[in-house]
Amino acid sequence: MSEDQARKVIQTFKYEPKRLERGYSDRTLYVNLSDNTVKAKTISEETKDVFIGGRGYGLYYLWQAVTGVTKWNDPENEIIISCGPIAGITQYPGTGKSIVVTLSPTTGTVIDSNVGGYFGPFMKFSGWDALEVQGKAERDVVVYIDGDKGVVTIEEVPLGDLNTHVLAERLTDYYSESENDKKNISVVSTGTGADNSLMGMLNFSFYDRKRKAVRIKQAGRGGIGSVFRDKNIAAFVIKFSNVNGDLNNPADKKRINDTGIKMHKEVASMDPKQNNMRKRGTTMLTPIANDNDLLPVCNFKFGTHPDAVKITKWEDKFCHTGSDGCWYGCTVGCAKVVFGFELRTGPYKGQKVLVDGPEYETIGAVGSNVGVFDRDHILECNFYCDTYGIDTISFGTGAAFIMECYENGILNKDITGGLELNFGNREAVMELLHQIAGGEGFGKIAGQGIRKMKKIFVEQYGANSRFLEDIGMEAKGLEYSEYISKESLAQQAGYGMANKGAQHDEAWLIFMDTVLKQIPTFEDKAEALHFFPMFRTWFGLVGLCKLPWNDVVPANNADTDEPQKVPEHVENYLNLYNGVTGKEATIDDILFESEAVYNFQRVFNLKMGVGKREHDSIPYRSVGPVTVEEYESRQERYDDQLKDLIGVDPSGKSTEEKIKVVREYREKQYEILVDTVYKRRGWTDQGIPTLDTLKRLRVDFPDVVGLVKKHL
């Protein structure tokens, strides 16, 4: 039987492809997989004004769809993909980002995850500001958007292997008419790991013409892929041809062009002297992290390791072509790739494959944090996580937690089914990953994420609850990304107060705080914890990548008043935003827009039962030394702090006694900072936005106010 005969179209929706106006189509595509409804929704001016796009639209639609008791696997839960008004311009680096929003299986509240690849821009050019998918299909389906013809279909197609490296390539072939047509296809897919765990992610594809290969970027965090598979979605596929630089129909194209060319010149001249992202991608962070005691080693116990030099250099592994952007015009080009890597384990053992990455986070997560300092292991693990649809961060941080439990006797071979999960055992790490993806053995437990594992280990294996709370690196149910925050109070709060859970994309303040010492007081830190989360949130409203903001900077940046904000790039972004939309927004205007959406998300957390102060607490491992081994590894530093900061003489005290004093001090510091930040943000001391704050930000909708009032 040919594929066309086997293809079963179960719903067809025809629409008029619509030209964008100043970055917007003002409509979204709604798909319900339970009853196969497909329809267009209009976005009102009022909604656009407050929510802007991207994450804002995701939050707006999800808020309408769910109640406070909706669970991640209820049919009411939605997956929303939206980019925002700037997304899809081709003239500036990092302008193709989509934001995916859903209720997370591990946090129980909203997760937002940003991702590159061509799907988001193609969706806009096909006439949709967002894709909103609700319900559950009976059998695995593909939702196909043909943006050229103006047709949306829900289809059952012969799928076979669901793992991304097979499926995305197969669907790219299937929906394209020729080799030259493949560039017009983007696939959103995941893999068996998303079927069998709660840490499933989504891969967004783009066709790499130079390498003639399907490439992928990940919406990694919070289990979105698990929601996707729970809805029996095999893939979203989109087709759009004839990309050019004018499809957003911007208000002032020359302003965008001039800004883009200026930035390309800056990247060309400065990147080789600065981070060299074009050659190294985000791997450039690995030696910096290791040198500054920030690289997580053995479940965040340590921040550096002598063997880390084995995993810091990657340039020789990468296949270079000169254009590694995950959307057109990204000259920063961090999307690195390793070609012809021969797999040593698992179902594809012996095959030579393309590995997208690794990125810094993956190196930290599946390398140093599990005590494995081997590049081939990292590539193997990176590949399998990607194709299985498993978030490398949650997997690595989760595996590190398991290993520390194993080494402390909480777990043993009887429990793990024979896996010797000591730090450094790379074979065991890979076997654990294969088990998670297959829903087998101990993998069934490991795939639940740290928060659920803690409960299981206490209830079933008699673990000490407090110890697990101290070393289980999650906040709000989301596993930590890969930075040691012990010496940066501001970064501890950056993790703890992040709306989605322990991810660094709201605030990355470690260098400002500890190395450059630019924010010494609580008020300074609180100001940084206001500005940076708001500014970074804005990237997610308009469809931008954060990296070109501050991973390459103008030659004179250090001489500016606020180099950490990269003022010239902020000006660039205003040019792009105003150039597309025709607004004349200032930096204060865009911060205001972000603050509104940010506070709305905070209230959304409250709606889902996690938006209070108690939910901003963090594991002590992220604050200070939990164990004697940790304290003694940095004894000089901690002893000095005892004397200089706390006023306690360490001499004559046991390590346990010193740990106790340090802990009391550090935990108190954290609480003072939380108080200061809440005040700066206009929240109560319980972390709830006040009614005045909601009114000022124009998110004082009746249901929002009604909800908040119950908690004041």
Partner: protein, 128 residues
Amino acid sequence: MKIVAKKPELCDGCGICEETCAQAWFKEKDKEKSAIRIMDNPNGDFNIVVCDHCGECVDVCPVEAIKTAKSGIVTIKDSDCVECYSCVGFCPKGAMFKHPEEPVPFKCTSCGKCVKECPTGAIYMEEV
């Protein structure tokens, strides 16, 4: 291949090459539409900017719209360009140009028309 080579010390800044190029490719005399540019130096002499077909733009182009022909000459296929202007920013000679009225960047194709019109011999075709 033959490329446009230069002897800036012979250039008198008359701009005939620029007009000739703009006329040849865009049927206009707007020098901003020329793929060869004469730049004034502070000391009174001139700098001649023109592509030497090094291929840097070929690497940075994400869509293979810029290619090196068998002859060695680097050319742009307009219909494949997505107007990202990476090539404009990355050209080490500053010889890839963008004009507000033209969506696709442009560059010297080594046609030689400017050379024929140059009154001083400051530009000439050279086999490399």
